[in-house]
């Protein structure tokens, strides 16, 4: 991945990107969602973090093998912050994988739903790219 990917609404990255985040994004670019695992105490983090919250040791990026989750909670955002106000309605969902790890992302195919989301409904992880390839993200599909 030659150039950095900028992430704004619905796209995970941050402006002050670190080598750790760059690594995360390069994996995401190849459709791999990475958690991090502490090299000392094996604690797991999703989204990943570079330092273990428990012992502050280094946590290494490790591929998530789970792709199916259940809806833990959600919000339908009708009135967005200014930066997203041109995006129309969007749904933010917290999905819970069977391992207990959670991930916050948008549900992007809600137009196919017959009603509002329901806590407990199944979610599937999906990777997405903008046409120019500069922006990548992960999403939930219902």
């Amino acid at each position: 991945m030659a150039e950095r990917k900028e992430l704004y609404l619905g796209y995970t990255t941050d402006k002050a990107m670190t080598p750790f985040m760059q690594d995360f994004l390069e994996n995401l670019d190849e459709d791999r969602l990475m958690k991090s695992v502490c090299t000392s105490c094996s604690a797991e983090y999703l989204p990943p973090r570079q330092h273990c919250q428990k012992c502050l040791s280094e946590a290494k990026l490790t591929e998530m093998t789970e792709s199916e989750a259940t809806l833990y909670s959600y919000v339908v955002v009708n009135f967005a912050p200014e930066t997203l106000s041109s995006k129309g309605v969007y749904i933010v969902a917290i999905g819970e994988f069977p391992s207990g790890l959670k991930l916050t992302a948008h549900i992007t195919n809600f137009a196919t739903m017959s009603g509002p989301p329901e806590v407990g409904m199944p979610l599937k992880l999906k990777f997405a790219k903008e046409a120019d390839g500069k922006m990548i993200t992960y999403r939930w599909l219902v």
């Binding site: 992430l7 704004y8 609404l9 619905g10 796209y11 995970t12 990255t13 941050d14 985040m21 989204p47 833990y72 909670s73 959600y74 919000v75 339908v76 955002v77 009708n78 009135f79 967005a80 912050p81 200014e82 930066t83 997203l84 106000s85 995006k87 969007y90 933010v92 917290i94 959670k102 991930l103 916050t104 992302a105 948008h106 509002p116 329901e118 806590v119 407990g120």
Partner: protein, 388 residues
Amino acid sequence: MARRVAVVAGGHSKFGKRYDATMRELTAEAYKPIYDEGITQDKIDATVLSYAASQFSGQGAGSALMADYIGLQGKPHLRVESACATGTASLRAAWGMVSAGLYDVMLVLGVEQMNRVSTATATEYMSRAGDMRWEYPYGISFPAFYALMASRYMSEYNMPHDILAKIAVKSHHYGAQNPKAHLPKEVSFEEANNAISICSPLNLYDCSLITDGAAGVVIAAEDRVKEFTDRPMWIKGIGAGASEMKIQDRPSLTTIPGAKYAAKAAYKMAGLEPKDMDMAQVHDCFTIAELIAYEDCGFAEPGKGPEMVENKENYHDGRIPVNCDGGLKSKGHPLGATGISMTYEVMKQMRGEAENASRQIDDVKHGLVHNVGQSGQFVNVFIYERGW
């Protein structure tokens, strides 16, 4: 040995869209009633003068501006920031200084000027109190954080939205009787239940207001209290707590873990229990936040908050009157002023000085303030005791 500390005076600006004032004039408006009671600048040893978000005004070193504007040149001041819990965080800091003997008399004043930017911009600023790497990019606004709690609560306890609408009806009922309130008007259940969606399941009437305003209190060490009042409100208990930064990392979304911890710590320090409280000012930035506060403060068991609402136990003549000044919902929520405004209201109720008898709570001996920052990352709970 820590010294006992009491709130001896308070002042409160009109809350609202204050296009006639900025943070300096609002500061003066909140301090003036205190000055008029005789607590002139020379009687104040030091101050904590705070606001939550400098983005709104663009002013740096704001506490210096505030101190200077109200004639406190040369008096030590500082600003404390804890998002929407800034007011009580300031009070907690000041209590520590007075209790320890560093100062005898302190002015603690919170202010926020929020309406010089658009609602979308204000929403944007507030959403930046979420994790800028993993939450903000997904557009989780301030109401969205609480909507995530509401969705989970409604699912776990099978609660209809009606309960939240009834909380909004109560808040506006009392706000309509408070001349300081931003939106002093009654709303019907139908209006509150069917309003336009902001962040579903939360609608317009589930959300607090974007408000300009200021509030201040003076605290004094026990051996100085009599110089200022014969009606001191003793700070009997203080508890502070914190919750995980990312909302997805919380062990539960039907409670605010930091609030539960803070309430327990405050009760323990005060040697009191929830049943001893005669009133509460809770942080109802959203109706779901008020409902969860009933449970976190021990006024209802988990999942039983809705019964308190249905039975109107939260009204001024109920078992535990909550937010009988209109709360953040109707009185308004100028972030940095809110915690001090809550404190001011407890003092007012204890003194029997509510503007309308129909919102005056009878015989308040103990009152609780529950002030939450952002979605629970900061929480302060104060318990007050009538000193006369």
